[in-house]
C-alpha cells in the first residue's frame, strides 16, 4: 500500500484500518475511499464489520491501527471540529423512552455546541416534518413503533446542515412506503451536496440509491468502486423465451455460445415456453445477430433480453455466503 497524501475531495478515507476485539479482527486492514458528493453504499452481510467501521469513523471506538480521515481531517483527533458537520444514525435509533420525540431531538441537539439554541425548536420541527413525524412530535418515544423510532433517528441526523451523513441500516423496520421515502430523502440530501454513507445488508436498497459502493466480508473490503464498476466485474447473459428450446440451443451453439442445459421436467408439454440462457463471454456476437439467426432458423422468439450481471450475483460471488451471518 502506498502512503497517499490526504485528499480534499474525499469525504471519508481510511488506510489499513484495523479493530481487534481480543484475537478476532472485526475490521481487518480496510482502505475505504468515499468521494465527496457520493451516495456510498457500504454492503456486507450481518456481522461483517460494517457497524464497527462506522464506530471507528465517528470516534466512538478507538482503532487498533490505521488512519481515518473524515471530511479531510484526521479522526479521532479532529473529532470536535468534524462531528458537528456529520449527521449519524449508528446501529439503530436510541432515545429516552420517557421523553417525547421532539424533546428527545432537543436533548440530543444540545450536545452540539455549534447548534444554536435560538433556532433549536424550529430546527427540531423542520427535521420532524422532513421525516413525516410532525403528528407524533409530542408523543412519548415509548409509544413509538420501530418504524417511527427509525424515522426519529434519521430526523436526529438532520437537525443541522450536514456535509456528511452516515446512515447505518436506515430502512430497518420501515414499511415499503417508508423505504421509498428514505430513498427520496437520501437523493434530496445528495442533491443538496451532502455526501451520504449508507450501510446496508440489502442489495436492492444499495443498488437503487447509491452511486458508489464497497462490499465488506469478514472484516475486509472485497470490492469497492462505482456501482457500474462493481457490476462490470460480472458477465452478461442472453435470455430467450421460446417454445422451441431445443432448436434455440442449436442456433446458439452454432454462434459459438454455450447455452445452459434445459432445466425442468423432461415430459413438459411442448407448447409451454422454455427459457434458454447463455453467457456472453465476449463482445464478438452482437445481440441483434443472435435474434436474426434464431428467427432465420424458425425459432419462435417470444422474449429476448441481454442482462448484465446484478449486484447480487457479484455480492454472492465476492462474499461467498450470500446473506448468511458471517462466522
Amino acid at each position: 500500500m502506498t502512503v497517499s497524501t490526504p485528499s480534499v475531495d474525499l469525504a471519508i478515507e481510511t488506510h489499513g484500518l484495523t479493530k481487534r476485539f481480543g484475537h478476532q479482527a472485526a475490521v481487518d486492514g480496510i482502505d475505504l475511499v468515499v468521494p465527496r458528493g457520493a451516495v456510498f453504499g457500504f454492503l456486507g452481510p450481518n456481522g461483517s464489520g460494517k457497524t464497527t467501521t462506522i464506530r471507528l469513523m465517528l470516534g466512538l471506538a478507538a482503532a487498533t491501527s490505521g488512519d481515518i480521515r473524515v471530511l479531510g481531517r484526521a479522526m479521532p483527533q479532529s473529532l470536535r471540529d468534524v462531528l458537528p458537520r456529520v449527521g449519524a444514525l449508528v446501529e439503530g435509533p436510541a432515545f429516552y423512552p420517557f421523553l417525547s420525540g421532539a424533546a428527545n431531538l432537543q436533548r440530543l441537539d444540545t450536545a452540539d455546541r455549534y447548534a444554536p439554541s435560538a433556532t433549536r425548536a424550529e430546527r427540531v420541527e423542520l427535521a420532524l416534518e422532513r421525516v413525516g413525524l410532525t403528528h407524533a412530535a409530542g408523543k412519548k418515544v415509548r409509544a413509538y413503533s420501530l418504524g417511527m423510532k427509525q424515522r426519529l433517528g434519521i430526523a436526529n441526523a438532520l437537525l443541522s446542515p450536514r456535509d456528511l451523513l452516515v446512515l447505518d441500516e436506515p430502512t430497518n423496520g420501515l414499511d415499503p412506503q417508508g423505504t421509498r421515502e428514505v430513498r427520496n430523502l437520501v437523493a434530496s440530501l445528495a442533491a443538496d451536496g451532502a455526501t451520504v454513507f449508507v450501510s446496508s445488508h440489502l442489495l436492492a436498497e444499495v443498488e437503487q440509491m447509491c452511486t458508489h459502493a464497497a462490499v465488506m466480508s469478514s472484516g475486509r473490503i472485497v470490492a469497492q468502486g462505482t456501482l457500474a464498476d462493481l457490476r462490470g466485474g460480472g458477465i452478461a447473459h442472453v435470455r430467450i423465451r421460446t417454445p422451441d428450446g431445443a432448436e434455440a440451443r442449436v442456433v446458439l451453439a452454432r454462434l459459438g455460445l454455450v447455452p445452459a442445459p434445459r432445466v425442468g421436467a423432461p415430459d413438459r408439454p411442448p407448447e409451454l415456453d422454455d427459457v434458454v440462457t447463455a453467457p456472453l463471454l465476449d463482445d464478438s456476437t452482437a445481440s441483434e445477430a443472435i435474434v436474426a439467426a434464431l428467427v432465420a432458423a424458425g425459432v419462435r422468439v417470444r422474449g429476448f433480453a441481454v442482462e448484465g450481471s446484478t449486484l447480487e450475483d457479484r455480492f454472492v460471488a465476492l462474499t461467498g455466503e450470500g446473506f448468511d451471518v458471517a462466522q
Binding site: 466512538l60 458537528p84 446501529e91 429516552y96 444540545t110 450536545a111 455546541r113 455549534y114
Partner: protein, 284 residues
C-alpha cells in the same frame, strides 16, 4: 431549510445548553420524582408519629434532635436528615450517580451524545453536575418537607441549641439550611464514586447497586473500632458530624474537614472516571 437555519456559528457556544438539558431530563423523570417523594415522606412520618404520640419525646430519646421537634417544627427536617443519612439518601444518590453514564450507555443515547459531539470530558462534568444537583435537591426536599410539616403540626418558636443557647426562628432557619448544605457536601464524594463505577459498565442497575453497597460498607467499616486508622479516610466518616453547626458560636471545623475529604474523593474518583471514560470504546 430556510437560510437563517443553515448558518453555522463560526465559534462554538459555551455549552451550557447540555447542562440545562441534563437537569431538565433528570428532573422530568418520574423516577426522580418518586425518589424525592419517598424522601419527603420521611419527615412527614416522623412529625405525624410524634404528634400522635401521647407523651412528647424526652431529651435523648429516639433519633438525635427528636426532643426539639415539639419546641420548633423546623427541627423535623433536621431529625429526618439524621434518619435518612445512613441509608435513604445514599440509596437515592446511588441510583442517580450510578445511572449517569451507564444509563445513557444502556439506552444507546450515549453514542448519539458523543457523536453530537458532546465531548467526553464535558459530558462527565455535566453528568457529575447533574448528580450533585440531585444531592442538593434530595437534601432540600427532606429539609423543606420537614419544615413545612413541622410548621403545620408544631409551634415555630425560639429553639435551644446543643450549646444551651436559645436562638430565634430566623436564626434556626439559617442553621437548618447550613445543615442541609453540610449533608449535600457529604454526598458529593459518593456521587463521584458512583460516576466512576458508572463508566465501568453498560448495566445501570449494577452501577447503582455497587455504589449503594459501597456506602453501606464504608459505614460498617466506620463502626469497627479495630479500624480506627482508616476512619478519617472513609467518605462516610463525617456524615453525621453536623452537630457543630447547631452550637453557639458555630464551629466550622467539622464542615471544613468534611468538605476537604469530599473534595479529595471527587478529585480521585473524578480522575479515575476521566481515565476510564476518555479511552472507552462505546459499543452500545
Amino acid at each position: 431549510m430556510p437560510s437563517d437555519l443553515v448558518v453555522r456559528p463560526a465559534r462554538p457556544a459555551a455549552g451550557w445548553a447540555l447542562l440545562s438539558s441534563e437537569l431538565s431530563v433528570l428532573f422530568r423523570r418520574r423516577r426522580t420524582w418518586a425518589m424525592l417523594a419517598a424522601l419527603a415522606a420521611i419527615p412527614i412520618l416522623i412529625a405525624v408519629a410524634v404528634r400522635l404520640s401521647s407523651s412528647p419525646p424526652a431529651a435523648g430519646e429516639g433519633p438525635p434532635f427528636l426532643d426539639r421537634v415539639t419546641q420548633n417544627g423546623l427541627f423535623v427536617g433536621i431529625t429526618a436528615l439524621v434518619v435518612s443519612i445512613p441509608l435513604f439518601l445514599p440509596l437515592t444518590v446511588g441510583v442517580v450517580a450510578g445511572d449517569t453514564i451507564a444509563g445513557e450507555a444502556s439506552l444507546g443515547t450515549l453514542r448519539y451524545l458523543l457523536v453530537g459531539p458532546a465531548g467526553r470530558v464535558r459530558l462527565l462534568f455535566v453528568k457529575y453536575a447533574g448528580a450533585a444537583a440531585f444531592c442538593l435537591a434530595a437534601t432540600m426536599t427532606v429539609m423543606l418537607a420537614g419544615a413545612l410539616i413541622g410548621a403545620a403540626l408544631f409551634p415555630v418558636g425560639p429553639v435551644t441549641l446543643l450549646s444551651g443557647d436559645t436562638v430565634a426562628v430566623a436564626e434556626s432557619a439559617v442553621r437548618a439550611l447550613l445543615v442541609a448544605a453540610y449533608v449535600t457536601v457529604s454526598l458529593l464524594g459518593l456521587s463521584a464514586i458512583g460516576l466512576f463505577i458508572s463508566t465501568l459498565t453498560e448495566v445501570p442497575v449494577g452501577a447503582m447497586a455497587a455504589t449503594i453497597v459501597l456506602s453501606v460498607v464504608a459505614q460498617v467499616l466506620d463502626s469497627l473500632s479495630q479500624l480506627d486508622w482508616l476512619h478519617p479516610w472513609l467518605f462516610s466518616h463525617y456524615w453525621l458530624g453536623f452537630a457543630d453547626l447547631l452550637r453557639q458560636p458555630i464551629s466550622w471545623a467539622s464542615f471544613g474537614d468534611n468538605a476537604a475529604l469530599q473534595a479529595a474523593y471527587v478529585l480521585v474518583f473524578g480522575a479515575l472516571a476521566y481515565g476510564r471514560f476518555v479511552t472507552k470504546d462505546v459499543l452500545t
